[in-house]
């Protein structure tokens, strides 16, 4: 007998491995040719800790609506209650539940639970508080993301990589500010004016405010800050001369749910 069963299986296995893996392993391990650089744009805005201050004394319904609209327009955020074609219409309760939002408004009691006062100033009670992702220093969403699709940049921005998001929604459960929305359906039929320079999202990914990283990279301020016409300040919290620090020095500001320890970086002057 020339060959026993065990030996035969061993040889067959080895030759399969070499046959299947050898060529591709060679191709993968062979040195590549990509030899060019990716660089920062010279006009990019840089900071060590981006933060936002919202001066609620200057914010009313119109300002808030203008900011939200500017943001949603630039980033192709769909409006589920206004589809482009009648066949995509959703029942109002579904549209409200699944609405995607990067920047929206809340009443004081909802935006600042735990900070309620028994007798709150009428003016504050009625204010539409603009809320968005707080870009926490200690972001729970980043900690729970299993694919590192959401991560914290050196400049403090809690960034999302839609290419990696698997739609598990752990981050939505982790975020105490409900700043994240899930794409329950294809958003394209609900985007009236597409900004062709910015991608949309797909069904099955989570999205949120990114502090306009794409605008900072080309030297522009975030869209909401521009649209607010002076009601919002954006800048480097670690730079004592920045506008955010100046505003925070001169005014008393509060943050949403600071007691949770996430260290949110959006401040509200009330």
């Amino acid at each position: 007998m020339g060959i026993n069963r065990r030996e035969f299986i061993r040889i067959a296995g080895l030759s399969t491995l070499i046959g299947l893996g050898g060529k591709s392993a060679w191709e993968i391990l062979a040195p590549g040719e990509v030899d060019a650089a990716i660089a920062e744009k010279p006009q990019a805005l840089k900071a060590t800790r981006w933060a936002m201050v919202i001066d609620m004394r200057k914010v009313d319904e119109q300002v808030a609506a203008r900011c939200a609209q500017a943001c949603h327009l630039v980033h192709n955020v769909p409006d589920l209650s206004h589809p482009m074609e009648a066949k995509d219409a959703l029942p109002p309760e579904v549209a409200a539940r699944q609405q995607l939002k990067w920047l929206w408004t809340e009443q004081f009691y909802n935006a600042f639970p735990g900070d309620e006062q028994e007798h709150l100033a009428e003016e504050v009670k009625a204010k539409p508080f603009m809320v968005l992702c707080n870009h926490c220093q200690n972001p729970p969403c980043v900690r729970v993301c299993p694919t590192k699709a959401t991560f914290q940049r050196e400049d403090g921005i809690v960034m999302m990589d839609m290419h990696r998001c698997i739609g598990c929604r752990f981050c939505m459960a982790g975020c105490p500010f409900s700043a994240r929305s899930f794409n329950w359906r294809d958003p394209r039929p609900y985007i009236k004016d597409e900004n062709k320079d910015y991608p949309t999202r797909e069904i099955g990914v989570v999205e949120k405010c990114l502090f306009c990283v794409e605008r900072l990279a080309v030297g522009l301020m975030p869209a909401c800050v521009e649209a607010s016409q002076g009601a919002m300040a954006f800048g480097d919290l670690n730079d004592p001369k920045s506008q955010v620090r100046e505003w925070l020095r001169a005014n008393f500001a509060i943050r949403r749910k600071p007691y949770l320890g996430t260290n949110p970086q959006v401040y509200y002057i009330v």
């Binding site: 590549g32 040719e33 990509v34 030899d35 060019a36 650089a37 990716i38 660089a39 920062e40 744009k41 990019a44 991560f151 914290q152 940049r153 050196e154 960034m159 990589d161 839609m162 290419h163 597409e194 062709k196 320079d197 910015y198 991608p199 949309t200 999202r201 797909e202 794409e214 990279a217 080309v218």
Partner: protein
């Protein structure tokens, strides 16, 4: 003496006498033939046909206006490595390194020193504004379906015959 029947578990006395023939040949052989036909069925319609080699079109207004018709890198490099280049661009724009610093940036410095904005929709498709005539030609030919277009917007005057993914 009859041959001992032996395997790794022990000795089992006489080897059983089994007639060496194909049982149920009248079922087995037609069955095998039918199986072979079924397995090769997808090949029959294409027998003898040749699929034309894709001809990605460069006829877009932006490219025709260019004096020196050159992509961000050399043609041969782009042909084989455009997907790697795009992934590098993506990582440079979106991701950060372990420390959290942005990995690169939004500008691609080509090997000839020219600078380009690293963007699929805003740089590639600015010249190649004919996705169905350019990208899809080869992608369909080799049956790859890149999932770029679920999010990235196709800047293309919709060509009538479009429809490919």
């Amino acid at each position: 003496m009859a041959e001992e029947y032996k395997n790794e578990f022990g000795v089992f006395g006489e080897r059983p006498k089994v007639e060496k023939k194909l049982y149920d040949a009248k079922y087995v052989i037609p069955g095998l033939i039918i199986f072979l036909i079924l397995v090769t069925l997808p090949l029959w319609p294409n027998l003898g046909k040749t699929v034309p080699v894709p001809q990605p079109s460069l006829a877009t207004p932006a490219i025709e206006k260019m004096k020196d018709k050159k992509c961000v890198e050399a043609l041969e490099f782009m042909r084989t490595n455009h997907m790697r280049l795009l992934i590098d661009w993506r990582d440079g724009v979106v991701r950060t390194d372990e420390k959290g610093a942005t990995q690169g940036g939004r500008e691609y410095v080509a090997t000839d020193g020219k600078r380009y904005t690293a963007s699929l929709s805003n740089t590639c498709l600015e010249c190649h504004s004919n996705k169905t005539q350019f990208c899809d030609q080869c992608h369909n030919y080799v049956a790859v379906v890149p999932n770029c277009w679920g999010c990235h917007i196709i800047k293309e005057q919709q060509v009538a015959q479009g429809g490919a993914k």
